[in-house]
Symmetry: C2
Subunit: 235 residues, 2 copies
């Protein structure tokens, strides 16, 4: 888990990594910890070393919209440099996590000075854009069971041809919010998915004889071809 190995930071200069190293701060947080709030003044961006972090926004009346849920190796908060130094969402730890913070100023500087780095980061942003695009498409076209199937496929190793075991990385309630549905709906939709594809469910573990069962069921309602590995969550 080294900054230099992150694809989004490929081409960073030595000086850049040195600065980051020097000014980084690592801390451990338990479930529920709020890292920052939407519209907060932004000084830092963050890297997840372990655990899970939820990015979301809320309305005045309390409804919540989950932007993304990220795991180790992903960064977040970095887009504040394009938003007048305000975070465009809130961030909360949802599974015990180790988080490293870095100064946004260093990132901004590197983008301005290092062209290859900038180009690389643009690619990452474009990748994220496609990811978001797809998310919107799924909300529009797929129903609840199909969205769950698609989510499971993106958790799995899509090259696998034989039997597959998938483990949900966090609470079902959270998966539900990530997919834009209620916990009750998630529960029922998962049962329906089970009935229609023959997958086996034991708590947070899901098994099947082959991914094909899910692919046929979910990918019919998507404009992309399976496999779609490149659409895994990226910060």
């Amino acid at each position: 888990m080294n900054l230099k190995n992150l694809s989004i930071f490929a081409n960073g200069s030595d000086r850049f990594f040195e600065t980051l190293d020097k000014e980084s701060q690592t801390s451990k947080h338990s479930k529920g910890k709020m890292l920052f709030l939407h519209e907060d003044d932004a000084q830092s961006f963050f890297l997840i070393k372990s655990g899970w972090v939820k990015l979301f926004r809320e309305t005045l009346d309390g409804s919540q919209s989950v932007v993304d849920i990220l795991s180790a190796g992903h960064i977040f908060g970095e887009t504040a440099i394009f938003e007048n130094d305000r975070y465009p969402y809130s961030a909360e730890v949802v599974e015990p996590a180790e988080i490293v913070s870095f100064p946004l100023s260093a990132l901004k500087g590197e983008i301005r000075e290092n062209n290859d780095f900038a180009f690389n980061m643009m690619s990452a942003m474009a990748r994220y854009r496609r990811h978001q695009d797809r998310e919107l498409e799924h909300r529009t076209i797929q129903n609840a069971p199909q969205r769950i199937g698609c989510f499971l496929l993106r958790l799995a190793d899509q090259e696998q041809t034989g039997p597959v075991t998938i483990h949900l990385p966090y609470d079902k309630t959270l998966v539900a919010s990530r997919l834009g549905m209620q916990p009750e709906t998630f529960s029922r939709a998962l049962s329906k998915l089970k009935a229609q594809t023959g997958i086996k469910i034991k708590g947070a573990t899901i098994e099947m004889d082959s991914l094909n069962q899910l692919v046929e069921y979910s990918c019919a309602a998507c404009s992309s071809e399976f496999p779609c590995k490149d659409l895994k969550a990226q910060a």
Copy 2:
């Protein structure tokens, strides 16, 4: 309608604009013209001089997901440079349009060579990302009449305090698809919006005494403050 005046192309070099100028091709298209298809090999990006263009994707079974609907001054197809030179959506003219095409290679070159340009383009991409984020949030939190209200607000001059007149820029059927609903739902939801906010509807023209009526109704279910001009469609 000059390339140099587009905010996304601020900081472009003279040489860049010269190349674009030299290699540009302008053409007029009538409604229904397909400009390119999803996954097509991409050589060019496009600028809309007039008219409206729909960006969308389709599944095998024919359901359609509208990515965006753009008007004069917006560019599209440019993100293909980050997608292995394939267009990430299809593009269709939905209102008679004048379109200019430019070589993607020139754009790619300028990004690599001109740092200010790259930074500026990153800002544009970040802006777009926020736009998409908001779109997803709206789908999650707002109901059909609220989404229509929000759409109307984004069409209007949000500084205006007195009576306001808004004209729908294209077919209601198309607005419906843009907002992720059926034409029938749009029709009924618009009636409901009228009943609840007191706006007046005559065909494609909508009038009201003040934007406040819509703001109170729609913006309650959004995490952003009104006004939200910056969220107007951007390519």
